[in-house]
Structure formats: C-alpha cells, structure tokens
Symmetry: C2
Subunit: 365 residues, 2 copies
C-alpha cells in the first residue's frame, strides 16, 4: 500500500525513465468542462476515446472520470479500457498525474508535483484547481505506488527526459511568474535533479508561440532517443514561431547531454497556423475566470505532442498539408513502433494534444 | 480488464466461497450522510476506522469514499489502508458491493446485484440509491474483475454460504414486497443457485426483531464452518426476538445441508435490548424520505454481525453484560483465528454492524 515518503527519488536511487521504456499502462482523464471543451465536451470525448483505444492496443489504459460523467465514459470507451471514478477540474493527465520514477531493481514510485493550473492566480487557466492537484495522489494510492510530494509547482508536460541523465525544459515555463517565483533557476535545477534523477538540465528559451501553458516543452521539443530530439519548426521566417524554434536550435547545437553527446536535431514542420473558427468558439461556455476560446485565436498546434506507447506512437494530425511529412518523419524516427494517427483538432481546441492528455506508468522492466 | 458477462456464475463453474476462505482483501465505504450518522458521521468514522485498522492486520483493506470526504478519510485512516474515490449514497459495502465468486482454478469474478436501498419505494430506507447501485460495478472495474449483473434485487447481507453448496436466507427479506414482487420463491431459489453456485437454500422465517433490512440473515444466523451455524438467541421468552430465534432453530433442526449434514446450532445470546438515546437521536439530521432515528427506538443489536478475516475475526461489542459470553463463544468457534473486538454501538446506530460495512474479496486460493 502506498506511503508518502520524506526523501527524494534521487536520494533513494530513483529516476524518471524515458517515455519509450516499457509501460505497465497509461492514464487519461475524461474531458467534460463546457467552458473549455465545445458542445459539452462531446467532440473531445470522441477524440479522447480514439486516443485511449489506440494506446490500448499495446498497453493497459485507465481513464479517470468524474462521478457525473462515469456512466457516459463507461459507455463510450471500449470495455477493455478501465474506467475509475476521480474528481477533476480538467482532463490533462500529463500535467495533473504523477511522474513515475523507477530504480535499478525495477521498483516504481511516483512524484506528485504541486499543480496550480499553469500559473495560479498570476496567469493560470482556471480556478479552482484543487481537484486537479489531488489527481496524482489518487492515482498513486489506487495503484499502491509510493509517493513523493515535490515542493515545486510543475507539470509533467514541462519536462522531457532521455532516461540517461538529461531533461529538456523551457525558461518561458519553468521561470514563469505564476509558478515558483521564490525559487532561483539554480533552485529549480536542484529540484529537477532531486525528483527526476537527472544531471543535466537543458534550458530552451521558449516553447510554441501562444502556447497557453507558458511554453511546455512537450509541445515543442522532445527526445526521440538518447542524443536525438525532434523540434517543432517553421520555414516561414515571418511567423513568430520561427524565432522561437531558431533560438532552441541554437541552444541544442551548442549543448551536450549528461553523457557528453551532442544533439541530433530533427525538425518537424508545424501544421497550420491553425485558428479557432466562429462555430468552434460558439460551442464553448463563456465563464469569467476561464481562458476564453475566441474565434480567430491562433492555436498552438504541433506534431511533437504525441504519445510513445509500448509498440506504437499515437500522433495527432490536422487535415493539414504538413501531416504527411510528420507521419513520414515519425515512421522513420520510431521504427519498429508503428504510427497511429488520430484527429488532433478537438484536443488542440482545449489547449493541448495527445501527449498532454496521457501519462505513462512504467513497468520498471 | 473487466468484462460484463451474459452467462451466470454457476453455468461458468463459479460459486461464492465461504467467508473463511482466503481473502485478497476487504472493501468498505466511508460513512458520512448526516441524516443517518449522528454528528456529521464523526463517531461512525472513528468506528469504521477501528474496523478497517483491525482487518488490515491480516489482509489488504480498501475504503471507498466520496470526493467530498476523501481528504478527511485519507487523514483518519492508517497509511496502509488504501483510499479510493467512489460516490455512494451510504456506507454498507456488504449490501452495495459485489459478491465475489471463484472457480476451481482460483479465478475470481463478481456478481453485481440490483440494489434498491432495502425495499425501493415500498419500504426502502432512502432515495435515491443510484450511486449505491453503481458501487459493485465500480469495485469490479477498478480491480479488473469480470462481472455478472444479476437480474435480482438482493443485498450481500441477506445471504450466508458455507462454500459447500448451502446458503442461509430469511423469508422476511427475500420474499419482501419491496424487492422482487414478480418473482416466486422458486424463481428466487433458481437465481441463488445460478449466481452463488449453491444447491440448497435454507429459508429461515425471520431475522432479528426490528431489523430495518427486513431481517438480513447476516445479523441473525451465519455459518461458522460447514455444518455449524451461530444463531442470535435470547432466553427471555417475553422478548419478541424469542419467537424469531425459536422459529429459526426449528427449521435448522429439521433441515440438512447440501452435503446431507444436520446443522449444529450455536446460540449466541443477543446484547441489550439496546435503545437509541435522546442525545444520539438529536445528532441525526431529520430529512423527509430517510428512516428517522428516534429516541427510544430499539436497535437490532447482534453479535453475529462480525467479519471473518484471514487470521482474525472482528466482533462488535456493546459494553453489555453479554459481551463476555459472545467473546468466549467466538474464541472457541473460530480458533486459531484471534478475536478482535471493536465498539459496535456507533455502527449499530446507523442500522447495521461490522459485517454489513465490509465485503471480502477472495483470493481464489
């Protein structure tokens, strides 16, 4: 049964494995809030169901759902996807779920970061967020996995590790005013070392343009394997994304990882730009205190926001001219895993994509 | 992952094991409703915590709790008791939880009976009961245990099996007007055969006097081992309980079980009678549609309402002159299991006792 531990993962010999390490399963939260998901969440629920169904081909999937939506989720999802009741404020398991860590014996524990809805009262996306902050603990409790409560505001989408000592982050996010204003950059690096078991923190300046998470790295630049990263790119030098991607490339070209390797950078051209339509905007409840979804707003679409499952990768596509190139790049990068594409637009409309709504639970083997 | 099956346990080679068969664990629900539990449920929560803590000495314990009470339950219960979120209408896992069944290979499945709050709109104890009716399914889903949905209104507290083909029930309960008015006694027997894997149904006329469950057998007469039952008794022939116990004794003395054995009956003298005090009554919210708890009402106290755990038995006691005899009888009946007594009054005030609030999950071995 799950204990809460007073030490840190690194002190106990634990580290976060890369996403491609073997999974015991994957967790999601069922989307429902009508002030973020259009049409009462019905299109998003179909999109989440497609993601859950795809991942369930090669690993166990559990979907956490509020009491109110339990019966509907159970009825929409395939029978072999497990559904458990869990209250929540929204459906971003990457950011509200635990970060699982493992040791050399294959034991698994979980880090429960402080969650404040991507910026708390400074620039957070909704209030309250107490149910979301409790999600990680409830997942660990349910699985009987021991827990570390990290004294750091952080979301799982703001870190990406290679499992060999290196983590990618963005300054835009980890140094944002709404998260840990009393901690220095050095303090935050130390927390990452302590809780992820990494040695080297690679700081990219920014994430994707207009990403409401303050530039989560998982929507922008991620490890494909040790030494190799994929980076959201645009060839359009007039697009505000260009400078951001170029700045990241510059850092990556002048940095080595914890094993002393230089980075191989694979550019993945962004889709779009993609904008919210009038019809899409009309389907979202307008509520004071929640980030509005206005027609014409540019969305932070990205092909980097995928999920690396046991024998497949789930990749969002957008009926966009750049889809084919993304699929081709993934096919090459992730072989022998096969690539399963899912429609990404409905998830993107809520503020993230496939990676943001999933959280892998490593098996430790 | 859990499936819902269209067949029946008996057809698939499954049967309900006796409570003394080895457990993987035990389930409870956290009490909170203020129109049933006095003082906002705080005394009952302490009593449930004592039961959970006792059982957790020799098997894994999970407590299901509403979102609202999650943090409090987590804080009251010992760390090694698992807490999971689950909405509910009240806290009687014996009656709302699944009845687990096993086969000869040690596989475990669950029966999800229809639950209508002990009598539905005829003489049920509260309305609505939809959250309670969903509890069994949620437990099975969470554990990944396959499920049968039985087309029968029944509570786990209204049956008691020896694991060798015989079940005890009461006519007062199973033939009550609020449960299955369209089914004959023969129909109900067939459902019990199909879902419990039994051959012989022993019908006792009544349960305990004024038992609001319409005389659940688990508060009145239960197997100690095959061929041996314990029966709530009173030596006071003027007490309305006397006739009820005598009628049961008469049936038991003239019946044989599925293996052809006559019953050895061990009489356990009831406590009290126990009555609700003014102070206790004042602590309960008065709500139209919920059974009131009035000062002077007699409670259905019984020592039979215990839990047989892996290496112990949890027995409710009442600061009553009959406590010592009950403990002595249990000590002899259940050796080498040790007897752990817990204060039973606060649970009794809510309408049941230790057995009613627990549900064992057999390991199948």
């Amino acid at each position: 049964m799950a204990r809460t531990l007073d030490s840190t993962p690194a002190a106990d010999g634990y580290r976060m494995p890369a996403e491609w390490a073997h999974h015991a399963g994957c967790w999601l939260v069922w989307p429902e809030r009508p002030d973020n998901w259009r049409l009462g969440g019905k299109p998003a629920q179909a999109a989440f169901t497609a993601v859950a169904t795809a991942i369930a081909q090669t690993e166990a999937v559990t979907v956490a759902v509020s009491a109110r939506q339990y019966d509907n989720a159970r009825s929409q999802l395939p029978e072999h996807v497990r559904v458990v009741e869990m209250s929540n404020d929204d459906s971003w398991m990457r950011d509200t779920g635990p970060t699982f860590v493992v040791n050399d014996d294959g034991d698994v524990r979980g880090v429960d970061w402080v969650f404040n809805a991507w910026g708390g009262l400074v620039d957070g996306l909704y209030f309250p967020w107490a149910a979301d902050d409790a999600v990680a603990r409830k997942v660990l409790e349910l699985e009987g996995v021991d827990r570390y409560r990290a004294p750091l505001v952080l979301e799982g989408g703001s870190i990406d590790v290679d499992g060999e000592g290196t983590v990618l982050v963005t300054e835009e996010c980890l140094l944002s005013a709404g998260r840990n204003p009393d901690l220095t950059r050095a303090d935050i690096e130390q927390q990452l070392r302590d809780h992820l078991g990494v040695e080297v923190v690679v700081w990219l300046p920014y994430g994707v343009y207009l990403d409401e998470t303050n530039g989560h790295v998982d929507n922008f630049c991620r490890f494909v394997r040790p030494g190799v990263v994929m980076l959201t790119w645009t060839d359009d030098e007039t697009d505000p994304q260009f400078e951001r991607s170029a700045a990241a490339l510059k850092v990556l070209e002048s940095t080595t990882d914890a094993r002393g390797r230089s980075f191989e950078v694979v550019k993945i051209h962004q889709p779009g730009p993609i904008f919210i339509t009038e019809e899409e905007s009309r389907g979202v409840d307008s509520i004071e205190g929640t980030l509005p979804r206005e027609a014409g707003d540019r969305l932070a679409g990205s092909y980097v926001n995928s999920y690396i499952g046991n024998d497949l990768v789930v990749l969002p596509v957008f009926e966009d001219p750049h889809d084919d190139a993304a699929v081709a790049a993934y096919t090459q990068l992730f072989a022998p895993r096969h690539i399963v594409t899912v429609p990404g637009r409905e998830i993107l409309l809520g503020g993230g994509n496939v990676h943001c709504i999933t959280q892998q639970q490593p098996s430790g083997r």
